[in-house]
């Protein structure tokens, strides 16, 4: 980590060649596309950029995207905390299997994640006839988008919290218990202060993915303008309509979201690492 010991490092010129190669690669792969979005959005001036947000469909897409995140994030947060409490604080048979099952949605292609809900709730799906008889729409409607989003972001909070809580052990909770605190008190006053940065980190990641999911949502949404288009779907529609300025303007909002996420991640990551160091565990990059 420290290149002062020249004897065990590469010659200076080679270091700079490698740095230049890495920076060049990241510039071409990451930065040029990012700049293109903003350049495309401002192609016809700032007025046209701002004007593209006056489009009612885009406004609706922004509102729907926020709504989806407001529903999906708290649900998965509650699950993530409950799952990591059960897995980190207790020993039981099948724990390893449970951890693997929680990770499953990450292994599934976004398109397939959408498809499984179509097979359940679509017209020809398991519950299709029943839903139709009761006039409930899930597929090609907002509930389907919410479900697909919950599925896609399902493991994220649990994944952050399980290792963190395992490293912190259970001595503090046990001590609180012997002093007579009940479960809720232990959670709010002992556990939560220890894991709060991990919780925040998980929420940031879940939120970014919930707002940006495209493949799964695209399969269940049916692309009905002004009814089932989230912001990423609106970007696709505008782009395919050749409305490039509007498409990139909508995309620029999602870029801001991504950049804010990265900044928040960098800040929170430091806190998580510090909490881990205090707990004596390893400091990880992911």
């Amino acid at each position: 980590m420290d290149s002062k010991q020249a004897a065990v490092s590469e010659p200076r010129w080679l270091q700079w060649v490698l740095i230049a190669a890495a920076v060049g690669f990241l510039f071409l792969l990451l930065f040029v596309p990012l700049i293109t979005v903003f350049a495309g959005a401002l192609d016809q001036g700032i007025k046209a950029y701002l004007h593209s947000f006056a489009d009612p469909d885009t406004l609706f897409a922004i509102r729907l995207t926020l709504l989806i995140a407001v529903i999906a994030v708290p649900l998965n947060l509650t699950f993530g905390v409950a799952a990591s409490w059960a897995i980190a604080k207790f020993d039981f048979p099948g724990k390893q299997l449970l951890t693997t099952l929680i990770d499953l949605p990450f292994a599934v292609s976004p398109v397939v994640s959408g498809l499984i809900f179509v097979l359940l709730f679509g017209k020809n799906g398991w519950f299709g006839p029943w839903l139709q008889a009761h006039d409930i729409k899930i597929i090609f409607a907002v509930p389907g988008i919410v479900l697909a989003t919950i599925f896609i972001t399902f493991p994220m909070v649990a994944r952050e919290l399980i290792p963190l809580m395992e490293e912190q052990g259970k001595e503090e909770e046990e001590a609180a218990r012997t002093l007579g605190a009940n479960g809720w008190r232990i959670f709010w006053h002992v556990t939560l202060p220890n894991i709060k940065w991990g919780v925040l980190y998980g929420v940031i990641l879940t939120n970014a993915r919930a707002m940006g999911e495209f493949g799964a949502v695209s399969v269940v949404s049916g692309h009905i303008r002004g009814l089932t288009t989230t912001l990423p779907l609106q970007v696709e529609i505008l782009y395919n309509d050749y409305s490039y300025v509007q498409a990139f303007a909508a995309a620029s909002l999602l870029c801001f979201l991504a950049l804010i996420t990265l900044a928040a991640k960098a800040i929170v990551q430091k806190r998580v690492d510090r909490a881990r160091k205090n707990a004596g565990g390893p400091v990880s990059g992911t």
Binding site: V8, P11, L14, Q15, L18, V23, L26, L30, P33, L34, T36, V37, G40, F79, A82, A86, K89, F90, F92, T100, I102, L104, A107, S109, P110, V111, V112, L115, I116, F117, V118, L119, L120, N124, G125, L147, F151, K170, R177, N182, G212, F214, G215, S218, P232, L233, V235, E236, F248, L254, C255, L257, A258, T261, L262, A263, K265, A266, S284, T286
Partner: protein, 278 residues
């Protein structure tokens, strides 16, 4: 169940585990198994026809080769980026480090239209390349570019912590014994990093196989040429061919679960290697 669970004085086991299992069942397990139950209705001849359709076969071929190609490129450049970030000090290092996660944070549809614009013949990189006679957008090469973008953080983030944990004293000892930097890299560093590099590559490969949003814009979606497997599923759905979509999706699911298993095994191997090294 008759283990020594009584030893734990912490409350809430029943509640949290029960809730976890219920939510997991409702959101993940029941929907996933519904797909396999649906697929069980497909007969062998039907499955045979669906999967051996030349268009589907071509899509599988492209998805596999492009994902593997992208993983290889990321193997080289991901290792380079991780190395530079861990070993060297230079201005902007912290900024670059956090930007590596951009493909995780950027919605795939945005990545898709951005990459397509950059690598089109009128684009900032596609323009100069097309003068050299290299076309990227709307070719299989474009698919690989999108998959490189998506896979990069997986490789960097699995290799980085291993590089950070490497014991510098071993390198110092090797240097004092007369080994040069290249020998140290080849004999000491590379073997130590290799398990995590493989894990990162397979994570990137698994993600690439299922990727949709960032690919469909730059690929142009020409049947037999630039159509990826997830797109086959979408277009079958759009034609209300639920049987076909389910069959292809099941193959994808089985593939992803197999990859998940392999990756888990590799992670254990990588963990054993790093622990053994200390």
């Amino acid at each position: 169940m008759a283990r020594k669970r009584a030893a734990s004085v912490i409350p809430g086991f029943g509640l949290t585990l029960g809730y976890t299992l219920l939510y997991l069942g409702l959101v993940v397990l029941i929907p996933l198994s519904a797909t396999f139950v649906k697929a069980a209705h497909i007969t062998w001849p039907q499955l045979h026809d669906i999967l051996l359709d030349p268009q589907v076969l071509a899509a599988f071929r492209l998805s596999f080769t492009a994902s593997a190609g992208a993983a290889l490129v990321n193997g080289v450049f991901g290792l380079l980026v991780a190395w530079v970030l861990v070993r060297y000090q230079f201005p902007g290092r912290g900024f670059l480090d956090s930007m590596v996660d951009l493909p995780f944070a950027l919605p795939t549809a945005v990545a898709g239209i951005a990459l397509c614009t950059v690598y089109a013949e009128t684009g900032w990189i596609g323009g100069p390349l097309s003068k050299l006679g290299i076309k990227v957008a709307y070719t299989q090469f474009g698919v690989i570019v999108a998959l490189i973008f998506i896979g990069l953080p997986f490789v960097v983030r699995t290799v980085q912590p291993v590089l950070e944990d490497l014991d510098k004293e071993v390198e110092e000892a090797a240097t004092s014994l007369g080994a040069n930097r290249w020998q140290i890299f080849r004999r000491l560093i590379f073997p130590a990093v290799l398990p995590s590099l493989f894990t990162g590559l397979s994570l990137a490969f698994a993600r690439a196989l299922g990727e949709y949003g960032s690919v469909i814009f730059i690929s142009g979606n020409m049947p037999m040429k630039t159509e990826i497997v997830p797109l086959i599923i979408v277009s079958k759905l759009e034609q209300y061919d639920y049987v076909g979509a389910t069959a292809v999706a099941c193959i994808m699911l089985v593939l992803s679960f197999a990859l998940l298993l392999i990756i888990n095994m590799m992670q254990r191997w990588a963990g054993a290697r790093t622990r053994g090294g200390h």
